[in-house]
């Protein structure tokens, strides 16, 4: 037994000697190396944003892509032990180099104090020579780091600014709402337009990895990815790049035209060009516009101030989707269809079209003070006779319930269209119930005959978006079916080596839905719209489309709206110029809705604007304008 105890003692000696040798080796022999390791040992997790997917037009034209850029960041941890004088001198050298105030650098440092191991971005998109200067003198600028990043590049610039949208750093509120979807602070996400609504496809998956940084916050080791970044998918639009540019130019042309005719307040507009069969949007333009470059890189507050200035008339507003206007006479086909469906009138019903219509002490005038005859529905639509429709409005007032409003809803008004970009307001179709709820004054709460009469010609409280109008005219063009407008056709995964991209998902909106209109009634309205655009004797846009090589049908509108105009504190009642229609009339391929804000009569500004879009689409020359007689 003594031997065995001795063996146990020997085992213990061996075990303890093992510990001593190993400790000696680690601490004494390699101690310096491990000390260095410990000093360098600040493993940081980093996220590398994935390359954002491109946005391409239907013909493959790239509308939004990426370009390499540089980002200068400050690591607050590096300044922890630095003497104040050292910080001051570093900031003084850095400020002029980056065009940033010393004060802002201090602010960035203070901001980082709460989380010293997260870098604060000082500036993106720095010029190359400055980057090189900094790289050469890295040691003189401890705590400053230069990163290669991707910046967004919009090839069509201002032509599709509102439609494509822009990207920006995720806000605290957005982060809170989407934390579960893998978003993290500092991520760049789409903030508006297609960039926002298709962000989950475009963004890809950020890479995650670890890197060692030294006590001064400089990266010392290789970046080791635990997850490689996965580039985002490409989003293919239904937008026709050429038509989009033509639409944007057409609005500018229409505004100019209106101003030349004395409508000096004309300062904005919208166009929707849509395939009436499936709701795919071929062009969607908004004016005034802006260059999305202002949102790329380090955003300058000065440039954004301009965008927010009311004098600039809200360039970031995507008017076709988000703009609300009274529709004016472009609404008359809604009234006509509702009246026919309800049986209030027939195509043969003859009503007076005279200079004015009086009811309950109120006088409503026709836009054309010289016409005075009894007419049927088709010419009433074609010449846009107000007094004819006032009388129809009175019939709706006398009818049971609110059939006009109900039909308007069925035809897509007062609710969102479901388009895949936003934000989309629902618009407003006023009803007696709405009046009761919305107003406090007893007189205002009552639905008066005047309300029905105003609604019949698209005036009063009714509000629509240009997109809702385009959808309604698509319904007339396709024989009574409501389409779901959309701008994206498919999601594609880019393939390497220039091979064709792989389609990940085809965006299929629900099939057009029949709203239950009698085809006979639709063809009556169609007839009226053809007459309106082509009948040389009384068609309101015949001067524009009469000589157009392709047969076009469409309706003008002149909608009065109180606009906030500098110098008019209570607003000024100005005419919003509308035109909506389609062509070719035999087999409609394209619906165009054009709006010129404060542009005067529909026939003088919006109709020529829309004509330019048709001309580009059909590849024909714009026709010369004749003498225009229009509402």
């Amino acid at each position: 037994m003594a031997v065995r105890i001795a063996v146990l003692g020997l085992v213990a000696v061996v075990l303890f000697c093992g510990l001593f040798f190993r400790l000696w080796a680690l601490q004494v022999i390699s101690g310096d190396r491990y000390l260095e390791d410990a000093n360098n040992n600040q493993v940081r997790t980093f996220r590398v944003p994935a390359a954002r997917g491109t946005i391409v037009a239907s013909d493959g034209t790239v509308l939004a892509a990426n370009r390499p850029g540089t980002q200068i960041q400050l690591w607050p941890a590096a300044f922890d032990d630095m003497p104040r004088a050292r910080i001051r001198s570093e900031f003084r050298r850095l400020a002029p180099l980056l065009n940033v105030k010393v004060q802002d650098l201090r602010k960035a440092l203070a901001q980082g104090k709460t989380d010293p191991l997260s870098p604060v971005t000082l500036k993106t998109a720095v010029r190359n020579f400055k980057v090189n200067y900094l790289l050469e003198r890295e040691r003189e600028f401890p705590g400053i780091q230069i990163n290669a990043i991707q910046l967004r590049k919009y090839r069509y610039g201002a032509d599709a600014a509102q439609l494509l949208g822009y990207t920006g750093q995720i806000s605290a509120g957005q982060l809170k709402a989407r934390e579960d979807d893998g978003y993290a602070a500092g991520d760049i996400i789409g903030q508006s337009g297609v960039e926002a609504s298709y962000d989950r496809y475009l963004r890809g998956r950020p890479g995650v990895g670890q890197v060692r940084v030294d006590a001064l916050g400089r990266i010392t080791g290789r970046q080791e990815f635990s997850e490689l970044p996965q580039p985002g998918y490409s989003v293919k639009l239904t937008i026709d790049a050429k038509l989009q540019r033509a639409a944007q130019n057409a609005i500018a042309y229409g505004i100019n035209l209106a101003r030349r005719q004395g409508e000096y307040y004309a300062d904005g507009g919208a166009i929707v060009a849509m395939n009436p069969k499936d709701g795919s949007i071929l062009a969607m333009a908004s004016n005034p516009t802006y260059d999305p470059k202002v949102y790329v890189g380090r955003v300058s507050e000065k440039n954004l101030e301009h965008l927010a200035d009311p004098k600039a008339n809200y360039p970031t507003l995507d008017r076709p989707v988000s703009g609300l206007y009274p529709p004016g006479s472009t609404f008359k086909p809604v009234t006509a269809l509702a009246a026919l469906e309800t049986g209030l009138i027939t195509p043969g019903t003859v009503l007076r079209c005279d200079p004015s219509y009086e009811i309950a002490g109120q006088t409503f005038s026709n836009w054309d003070p010289f016409y005075n005859a009894s007419i049927q529905l088709v010419p009433a639509i074609a010449m846009s006779c107000d007094t004819y429709f006032y009388r129809v409005g009175k019939m709706f007032y006398d009818a049971q319930g609110s059939p006009l409003q109900e039909w308007a809803r069925r035809m897509g008004f007062g609710r969102t269209t479901g388009v895949d970009v936003g934000p989309e307001p629902s618009g407003l179709i006023p009803t007696p119930a709405w009046r009761r709820q919305h107003f406090t004054h007893a007189w205002d709460q009552v639905w008066h005959p005047g309300d029905s009469i105003q609604l019949a010609i698209g005036q009063g409280d009714v509000l629509v978006t240009p997109l809702q109008m385009a959808r309604f005219y698509s319904l007339i063009a396709n024989g009574g079916k409501l389409v779901e407008p959309h701008v994206v056709s498919q999601i594609e995964e880019p393939s390497p080596n220039g091979q064709a991209p792989v389609v990940v998902r085809t965006v299929k909106p629900p099939p057009p839905r029949d709203v239950g209109l009698d085809p006979a009634n639709i063809s009556v309205v169609q007839e009226g719209l053809v007459d309106a655009a082509q009948n040389g004797s009384y068609g309101t846009s015949a001067a524009v489309f009469g000589a157009f090589p392709v047969s076009i049908a469409g309706k003008t509108g002149t909608a009065e709206k109180y606009q906030q105009i500098p110098g008019y504190p209570n607003g000024k009642l100005l005419d919003q110029s509308w035109w909506c229609g389609y062509g070719p009339t035999s087999n409609p391929e394209l619906v165009v809705c054009a709006l010129i804000e404060n542009g005067g009569h529909g026939g003088t500004a919006a109709a020529p604007t829309a004509m330019r879009v048709f001309a580009n689409y059909f590849g024909v020359k714009p026709t010369q304008l004749g003498a225009i007689h229009s509402d």
């Binding site: 037994m1 303890f16 601490q27 101690g31 190396r33």
Partner: protein, 391 residues
């Protein structure tokens, strides 16, 4: 020798003289070494954990102080009782241990994997107490069959005796402590005089089953351990494989130990500890923090103190009054020595990460109390051995 034991039990001297003799025969060097380790451990724990609980820099030290107090009481109590009392009641002890382990497992099923039983102010780990009970039981079993220890039957019986609680601990899952039970069995058989061929077979079987659990069965698609456990156990063989993942602990720990150098980085300068690069710096990796703060000198002092304990322990094995006491003393010495080796070895990359605490130093009540209890056992044997030797 056997007759003297009988005398000791039957002829009862006056209580006062017995107590006086007992106090005279305490191994004071062993006590001093243990006191040194405990005091050193408290000091290190205080500096390592001072920023762990905001506003209460003494949080861990205070609680560990209570554990030490309870442990000292246990030490004195165990030292005062003749080890033969444990020998007589070993079946009861064994039953209690199995009962407690089953309770832990049953509670596991309810609240998920945990190793302790909650008794109000204290979380009690039966598997720690099991170290003492397994030593006493296997020692009692072998001492009873001292003449037959060379027979296969006896060895197999001892294996069965230990294998049951070891299995229960293993499925808790606490692979490290289960291995510790197996180590106790080996030492006990060795001291009891089992044949070397039997011991070799046992060692081969243990190695084979370890290999099977870690490598062969997983390769065949049967996972006995959870993947993270296997990675932790085998990661020390190749710490650079995945420095940010499972071997993160080893890499950080080795860096901490190495950076301590000859004389240490001091309490303030120990960035590995202070910036929380070291995981579990109050419990499993407290040695790394000590080595970072106090360097080779500071670490050596602790290891020398352990060596002193082991040396005194082996002396006690030699002068034990009987085979039972000898096996118990050897079991105690080795369960402490192996824990020190595995824990320190883990922090410096020569042993697997098993979650075995550093006895008498790591923060934790069960380990501290049971470790001091084991020292109490050594003292009890020392006192009886000296008393027996005197008369």
């Amino acid at each position: 020798m056997a007759t003297r034991v009988v005398q000791d039990q039957t002829a009862r001297p006056q209580l006062s003289t017995e107590v006086g003799a007992a106090i005279r025969h305490v191994d004071y060097l062993l006590l001093a070494a243990v006191a040194g380790i405990v005091a050193y451990g408290l000091w290190v724990l205080g500096s390592v954990t001072r920023d762990d609980v905001p506003g209460d820099s003494g949080y861990y030290v205070t609680r560990q102080g209570i554990n030490v107090t309870l442990g000292v009481i246990a030490l004195v109590a165990v030292a005062a009782v003749s080890p033969l009392v444990w020998r007589r009641s070993r079946k009861l002890l064994y039953g209690i241990l199995i009962g407690l382990l089953v309770i832990v497992l049953a509670a596991d099923a309810i609240r998920g994997s945990q190793r302790w039983i909650d008794i109000g102010f204290f979380r009690f780990q039966p598997s720690e107490l099991g170290k003492a009970i397994v030593i006493l039981c296997v020692a009692g079993y072998l001492a009873e069959r001292a003449k037959d220890v060379g027979r296969m039957r006896t060895v197999a019986g001892a294996v069965g005796l230990v294998a049951f609680p070891a299995f229960l601990v293993f499925i808790e899952p606490d692979f490290g402590t289960a291995l510790m039970y197996v180590a106790i069995l080996g030492v006990a058989l060795f001291v009891a005089g089992a044949r070397l061929s039997h011991l070799a077979a046992l060692l081969a079987a243990a190695s084979a089953s370890t290999l099977a659990i870690l490598w062969m069965l997983p390769a065949a698609g049967i996972d006995v351990l959870k993947p993270y456990q296997v990675e932790r156990l085998t990661g020390f063989l190749n710490p650079d494989l995945d420095p940010s993942g499972t071997t993160y602990n080893i890499t950080q720990s080795i860096t901490a130990v190495g950076s301590g150098g000859l004389s240490g980085r001091g309490v303030e300068g120990a960035t590995q500890t202070n910036l929380n690069y070291l995981p579990e710096h109050a419990t499993d990796f407290i040695f790394s923090s000590l080595a970072e703060q106090r360097g080779f000198f500071g670490a050596s002092i602790l290891i020398l103190l352990y060596a002193l304990v082991v040396w005194r322990g082996i002396k006690i094995v030699a002068l034990a009054p009987g085979l039972f006491e000898a096996i118990v003393a050897a079991g105690v010495v080795f369960v402490l020595a192996i824990q020190v080796f595995v824990n320190v070895g883990m922090t410096i990359g020569i042993a697997p990460i098993t979650g075995i605490p550093l006895p008498l130093v790591s923060y934790g009540g069960s380990s501290m109390i049971v470790s001091l209890m084991l020292i109490g056992l050594l003292e009890a044997i020392h006192i009886r051995g000296r008393l027996a030797g005197r008369s």
